[in-house]
């Protein structure tokens, strides 16, 4: 498992979609392409926007199918973050 700590990259309010896209393209995708799994660690993140979660996750689901969620795991999410991730995962299915 490759742990990706998001707080040092995006701060406590994860809203910057450019950063989300960078994380997806430059960190998550290379791991998945090698057949690996990634843990997205939301420790110390208070809140995220739907736009951030969409830029981070939607294309992974679109390209790899919903089973990508067996290889992309979320840790240390508070309730707000969980709800927003669930929203994106819901509408992408």
């Amino acid at each position: 498992m490759n742990i990706i700590k998001l707080h040092p990259i995006v701060g406590s309010f994860a809203e910057n979609k450019d950063k989300a896209r960078d994380i997806r393209l430059n960190t998550i995708l290379p791991i998945l392409e090698k057949g690996g799994s990634a843990v997205l660690d939301f420790e110390n993140i208070d809140s995220i926007t739907q736009s951030f979660a969409h830029a981070l996750l939607s294309d992974l689901i679109r390209n790899y199918g919903i089973d990508v969620l067996d290889r992309v795991i979320f840790s240390n999410c508070n309730e707000t973050t969980k709800r927003i991730i669930e929203t994106v995962v819901d509408y992408m299915q």
Binding site: F13, T49, T87, Y91
Partner: protein, 325 residues
Amino acid sequence: MKIHLPNSSFLGNINSFLKSIDISKEDVLEITSNEKWISVHPVIVCLVASLGLEVRQRSKLSNPIICQKFTAASKHYFERIGLFKFLGLDSEMRINSHESAGRFIPLTQISESMKLTKFIEDMVPLLHLDPKNVKPIKYIISELVRNVLEHSQSINGAVVCAQYYSKSNTIRIGIVDSGVGITKTIRKSHIAHTDLDAIQLALTPGITGTTSKEGGTEYNAGAGLFFIKSIAKINRDFFIIYSGNTLYKLLREKDGKIIHLFSNPLDDKHSKDITMPIWNGTVVGVDINLNETEEFTSLLDQIRNIYTNSVRERKKDKYKKPKFI
């Protein structure tokens, strides 16, 4: 152009102010104001500031902004919130720096992504709010300004300000741009005959100007405005969006009435006016009553259900089966 700042104008009664804007003579901006008292929603302050930026850039005159001296007792508010500085005018008001600054976010121009991130970090302490009330405010400002940066093509980016009103325990937020407007953006991927059609589409979950595909692209989901309208609706607050000749206003729901979210904004309790002076860009104003603020997580649950169902229904409508003969 001529603008008169009235005695009192907030989202509930903003129509008459917007109708009074004179958009002729694009190279001059004349500002007058009520002589006794001026109390206006921050979206109006943003709108005046945005027009000022436009006129300064467009006009060849050395003094394209003519501002009648403010005499109202509340005139210092406009100095504090940064309107005169924004317009490049000397108000001749001197504010003592030791005076309480109040709970507001001064006028700020945001034209790039990293500046938005910094702005959000810096603005929260200015409002002195309970942390549970901060989440929806940060959310709204981030999503609305990102919309401007991504879609408006405005060289000036977004003009933002906000104010906390202790009497009503409400945060009022304004975000204005002078870009291409919603209709031009939506028409890149959808059919919109009128500005109202375009606003209706922009507020519909899963529709974005960047693609005709349901659910958007890898970068845009077409959810931002729907989320914000929904936050306002669930909290029984006003929300306005004005672009081209059209003003759409989400009206407040009555206390005690069960709130239902709709994917079609015209199904919400609203008013619309398609005879406004043409605004080249987009104006958004929203109120957040902190007494009514529902837990952000429960609010997100409600929004998620309607968003997901709406996108699924439309996907189903477009789904085609093979024809076997």
